[in-house]
Structures are given as structure tokens and as C-alpha cells.
Amino acid sequence: MTARLLDRHVSFVAALRRRGLRVSIAEDLDAARAMASIELIDRDQLRSALAATLVKRQAQRPLFDLIFDVYYPPVTGTSALEPFDGVTPKRHLPPAPRDAIEDPVRDAIRDLLAEYLASGDEQLLAQAVRDSIEAFGTESHGREGGPGMPGRARSPRAILAKVSAQTLMAGILAQVLSGVERGGVSEQRARTMINDRIRRFEDAVEAGIRRRVAEQTGVEIAVRDWSRPSVDEVPFLDATRADLAEVRREIQPLARRLAAKLAQDQRRGSRGQLDFRATVRASLSTGGVPMATHHRPRRPHKTDLVVLCDLSDSVASFARFTLLLAYALREQFSRVRAFGFVDELDELTRFFTPGGDVVDAMTRLAAEADVTGATGRTDYGRAIELFAQRFDDVVGPRTSLLVLGDARSNYGYVALPTLRRIAGKAKHAYWLNPERRAMWNTGDSRARDFDAITPMVECRNLAQLAEFAKQLGR
């Protein structure tokens, strides 16, 4: 390995470490050995080799790819698109919606992109990406937006908004599905395909822009500026819609992992009494010498889980995830019952049928649960009193009680004595709060008062939720 290449590699690994990938020296050496045994000329092979040796967790792969793109950029050609010459033939597509100002460059790029979306030709994709970055990638283009520094790279989002690939969908659908009846599976199949290609286009544009930024500001700075939390670290309270969908997808696998872990923990060290008969019977095959002892299995002890959750808008997404997780973990508890409230209380258990569909359960819960009363503002006091009146017998000595909410009761009454009585009956009682700990006790938050009765746990993201669930199942 030449000295220059080695320098590059060392600073690449340093960048990975700075961005939170734990790369050990042994792995670093492996990577160097791997580089020595492949053809460095092939960039894809280099990427695969480095990924195989340095990245041991798939969640970190996107970050790795970003940093790789900056440190080992592909050889780029300039755009194949000349400033619009007026003779480029128009393709036959239904006219797409236009901005007020006609933009021939943009139209040409959109035509190119449309052709890729319909055909899936990789070369067209590469060209469309190159052209869009070339045409809209720098703010000096001067067509829109404020006066940026000349030549400064524009954000990927701005470029994608300019090209607005999604608006091409209808036209391409019509083209792909020509002669086929609309609706049904064929349309959805085509949609999936086109969406897939649009995503590839967007990813490529983003990568291209990142590279451009890196060229302008130096790799170290460029790498420092990107941060995107992985799915299990997205805070529930300020997640975007896309984030929320992704988090919801993550719940089932998480529950599966947790369930396996909990089942293992419950079994571990659970050797019960010596089973004398079984031991003697087994010893017959070794001439009467008891080689191994046999034990009776111990009865697993499972608890009831009662979840009482605040469904007001500010924390609803958090409550839903926790409910989903609770129901996905149903087997680990002898029974799960859920109650929701804003200023009215309703039992939610009926929405979660065993083996039922989660998305369905959530939509039905949002539509049918009767949780808002006269004011429509969170009223912890009323909810707790109602719970005590109607469902007093739900909480018993084998129950774990979970309260989910931000403990903000709009400066109203919070029924602390009643809560204390209910929590006192339960085996455990916890309060999960989706707010940052630093925000507790500010404004109308009554975190401290509740914390004294039911220990309050900060639960801002999936990782924290999983950690808590692990403890609860023990």
C-alpha cells in the first residue's frame, strides 16, 4: 500500500470513529489487508471490502456509505447537458405541472428523469443526477432563492423540490399502464416500482451534493455536519411522519428480540426441584451411574400489565408506540389491559385482537376510542379518578401498572391521593415520560409529584423504550 493511500485510509477510519462507529485496531488492520488483496481500481469492490471489515452493524451502513463517498469519490464527468439549445427533442409525455416561470433546463431534466423512471435504465439515472446537480446544485444559478454565496452548494432538498420527481408519477403511470385497466394490483405494482426508482434518484442526488460540499469545504468539515439519528434514537415527540412510519416498522422486530430475551431470562437459572424418578431412569443407560441430574421445570411467574396512557395530541405518538410494543409482547405477560384518556377515559383493549393487524388497530383506535370529553384538554386528575371509579379491581397485587404521559395537566387537579392508592395496590408502578429529563418540572409539568408515587422513567426513543421493557419483563 502506498503512503498516500495509507494516509487516506487512516483519516477515513478516523472519520468513521468520529461519527460514532467503533472501529478497533484489529478491524482497521483487517481493512488494510483486505485492500491489499482486491483490485483497488474497482470502487464497488473497495466499498464492499471496507464495509465487510469495518461496519458490523447494518444500521451504520448508510453513514459508512456517506463517508465513503466523500473519501473515495467516483471519477465524475461533467454534465452531458448543454445550456438549453432549443433542439433537444421533446418526449411524448403528458405535460407536467409547471411553475409560473418556464424553465427549459428543468423540463429537459424532468424529461430525462421521466424516461429513467419508466425504463429503469441506469445510464439515464446517472445522467439525470449529474444534470440536476449541474443545473441546480449551486446557488449562483440565480434563478430563485436569496443571494447565496456564489458557487455554494445548495441543499439536496432544494434541488429535489425543483425537479419534484413525484409530480411525474401520474404521467409515467399512464405510460406504463397503457392498455391495462387502472386500479388493482397492476397499478400498485407500478407505483412501487416507480417510487423505488424515485428514491434511488433522490439518494443519488443527495450523495452527489454531499460530495460537492466535501470538495468545497474539505472532507473533515463535510463529514462533521451530517447527522441523522438511527431509527431507535429518533425522539418520539419531534419525529416527522416518515420517521414515525419507520419507527412503527421497527416495533415488531424489536418486540421479537425482546420476547426472545425475556423468555431466555425467565428460563435461566430456573432449574426447579430434583426430579428423582427421571434421574434414576436416565442413569439406567449408564449402568446405574447417575451421570446427569434431571430437574422439574419451574413454573414461570407472569404478571398482568395495565397500561394507562395519555392520548392527547402532544404525546399520542409515544403512547401508541408503547401500546404497540406492549401488545407485541403480550405473550410475556399473563394479561394486558390498556386504557386511554384525554379528559375522558376509555378501555382500549378491544382494539388489539390476538394476531390482528397493527395498522388496523391504530386507525380504529384513533377513530373510535372515546377519550375526549367536554374540554378536550389533558386532565390527569379526572382520568385517574374515573379509572379508580370504574376499573378499581383491574389493579391487583400481581399487576404492573404503567402510566404513559408527559405529566402536564394544564395546571389542573391531579388526584395524587387516588393515584397513590392505586399504585400502592400494584406490584410495580412506573411512569414513562417521553419528554427530556431537563424539561420535567417546567411549566405545568407535575413530574416531581408523580415521580414520588410512581417512579418516572425518561423514554424518548425506541432504544430507551426497549431498555425499559427488558427490565419490566423480569
Binding site: 467503533r22 478497533s24 484489529a26 478491524e27 483487517d30 489487508r33 483486505a34 488483496s37 482486491i38 483490485e39 464497488d44 469492490q45 466499498r47 464492499s48 471490502a49 464495509a51 465487510a52 471489515t53 461496519v55 458490523k56 452493524r57 447494518q58 451502513r61 429503469g120 386500479g183 388493482g184 394490483v185 400498485q188 405494482r189 407500478a190 412501487t192 416500482m193 423505488d196 412503527r248 416498522r249 415488531q252 422486530p253 421479537r256 428480540r257 426472545a260 430475551k261 431466555q264 428460563r267 443407560s285 449408564t286 449402568g287 451411574v289 451421570m291 394476531g355 390482528g356 393487524d357 397493527v358 395498522v359 388496523d360
Partner: protein
């Protein structure tokens, strides 16, 4: 074993296993650097198949250690054959000296070799598949660590057995639990995801060559569509292939015959949960 990543790709393609750059490069490196290869990914994307394909392509024997909860040293590494030893002691002539008998009962004859030891002792090319390593307990992982880092095993009564020829080791995991950092550090890592529709079409084409190309295209696009819905269990590659075979068996040959009704009729091949069926029927408005 292999000369280059491209060689891996062509060798595996010959045994009907189609790879992408990630897979071929990583497999090549695992062989070249003699490192174990840890493969993760959703169920049914061909992790175990990869080990089988490597074994077939290189003419190696495949030794498989299926992991499960409660797997222990005696099942993974070696065990003394107690029964036979007892018989030997009881059958010893009265005048035999104890140390003779002792030396005699701790020999190869009384050793039951389990997959790990067997793989290490073999002189011929070997592929060792440690399947679903995430199902084991942490103790077994520590054992694996020892075996996979030095490829040697110490048996107190016999001494240390060192591999004369390192096997190609492939460890698979469904990520029901995160494997330890130490184990991951010693392995190369490969994540197998659902293939892109283009690659899946090639895979289906390789496995079910009788299937018409246009129908295969439609089939894999439908599978891709199903994977975008939030299902309990998304269709795996193996299930897509099953689907293709089912269609052939039903006499569906043309792309036009693969309509909504046929999809509805054969959905059971790819979806194994009632809730998933209901969801797909609902979303795709199937008859």
C-alpha cells in the same frame, strides 16, 4: 479457494447462487483472509443457501452446527462416550492396572466429535456453517470465539488440536439478539437484504428456468409490492421461488394469466399469517 471477487461470483453463479458485489467481495475476502464470515439479514434471503453454494462451488464438505437455546460444549465441540467408557472399565480383566485402563479410555475411540471439532480436524476443504448463532446463550458464544479466533481446541486429556487446514466458516444470525462485539470483531460482516427486483428476477429465472420472463418480472414486482406493506412476515426469496413453482403447477404460463384472481388464489404460498392475508386483500383490493 478463489482468485478474485469475480471468480466468486462466477463460481457461485454456476451452482445457481447469484451474488451482488457486496456478497462476492466479502466471500472472497473471508476466504483470502481466512476469517469467519458473519451473515445477517431477514429470514429467507438465502443466508444458509450461501454456505451451501460455497460448499458446492468449491467441492468442500459442509459441516453444519445448528444453534439453539441450550446448546452446550458437549453438543458443539466434543463429548466423551461415557457409556462406552463404563463398559470398557467394567469389561477390563481383573489384573489390569488402573493407569493402563485410564490411558485407554481417553483415546480417540471414546471421543464423540461434534461439528466444531470435526471441522477443525478435517484435512480436506470444509465449509463450517454455524446457523442462527443468535439463538445460543452467551456462554456458547464465548466458546465460538475461542474456536474461531485460533482454530484450535484444547481437550484436557488429549492435548491441543490445531486445524491443519482452516475451514471456511460462515456464521448466520437473524438478529434476535445482538451478537457480542468480540465475536463481531473477529468476523467479516455481510448484510443480506431482500434483493432488488432485477436481481430477484434473475434468481427466480435461475431456479425456475421454465418460467416465462414477463411472468417472472410481474411476479417479483408483486413480491416487492408486498414487501412495502406492513406485514408481520414479508415474503422471502424462497417463498417467491415457491410462488413461481406454484404458478407453473397451476398451469399459469403467460404474464396475462397472473391477474388479481390468481394472486388472491395463491397468496397462501407467500403469506403465512391470517392478519397479513386480510391486510393484503384489503390494500390491493383483491377479489
Amino acid at each position: 479457494m478463489f482468485d478474485s471477487p469475480d471468480h466468486v461470483a462466477s463460481a457461485l453463479a454456476e451452482v445457481q447462487y447469484l451474488t451482488d458485489t457486496d456478497t462476492s467481495t466479502t466471500v472472497y475476502l473471508a476466504a483470502a483472509l481466512q476469517r469467519p464470515l458473519l451473515v445477517e439479514g431477514p429470514a429467507g434471503v438465502g443466508k444458509t443457501e450461501l454456505a451451501k453454494a460455497v460448499a458446492t462451488a468449491t467441492g468442500s464438505e459442509l459441516i453444519r452446527l445448528q444453534c439453539y437455546e441450550g446448546l452446550d460444549e458437549a453438543r458443539a465441540l466434543y463429548e466423551w462416550n461415557y457409556r462406552k467408557q463404563l463398559l470398557r472399565i467394567q469389561a477390563a480383566p481383573d489384573d489390569a492396572r488402573w493407569d493402563e485402563t485410564h490411558d485407554d479410555i481417553f483415546t480417540d475411540e471414546f471421543l464423540l466429535t461434534r461439528p466444531l471439532l470435526r471441522a477443525i480436524r478435517r484435512d480436506d476443504p470444509t465449509v463450517l456453517l454455524i446457523d442462527e448463532a443468535d439463538k445460543t446463550d452467551v456462554e456458547v458464544e464465548a466458546l465460538l470465539l475461542e474456536v474461531l479466533s485460533d482454530f484450535q481446541v484444547t481437550i484436557p486429556e488429549l492435548g491441543t488440536v490445531t486445524a491443519t487446514r482452516r475451514p471456511f466458516v460462515l456464521v448466520t444470525s437473524n438478529a434476535t439478539r445482538e451478537l457480542s462485539e468480540a465475536l463481531k470483531r473477529r468476523c467479516l460482516y455481510l448484510y443480506l437484504d431482500y434483493p432488488s427486483p432485477e436481481r430477484e428476477r434473475e434468481i427466480v429465472g435461475a431456479q425456475v428456468p421454465e418460467l416465462e420472463l414477463a411472468l417472472a418480472e410481474k411476479l417479483v414486482r408483486t413480491a416487492a409490492l408486498l414487501r412495502t406493506l406492513e406485514l408481520k412476515k414479508a415474503p422471502s426469496v424462497a417463498e417467491t421461488i415457491d410462488w413461481a413453482r406454484t404458478l407453473l403447477a397451476l398451469g399459469v404460463t403467460g404474464a396475462d394469466d397472473f391477474d388479481d384472481e390468481t394472486i388472491a388464489r395463491t397468496l397462501g404460498v407467500v403469506l403465512k399469517h391470517t392478519a397479513d392475508h386480510a391486510r393484503v386483500r384489503n390494500e390491493l383490493r383483491l377479489p
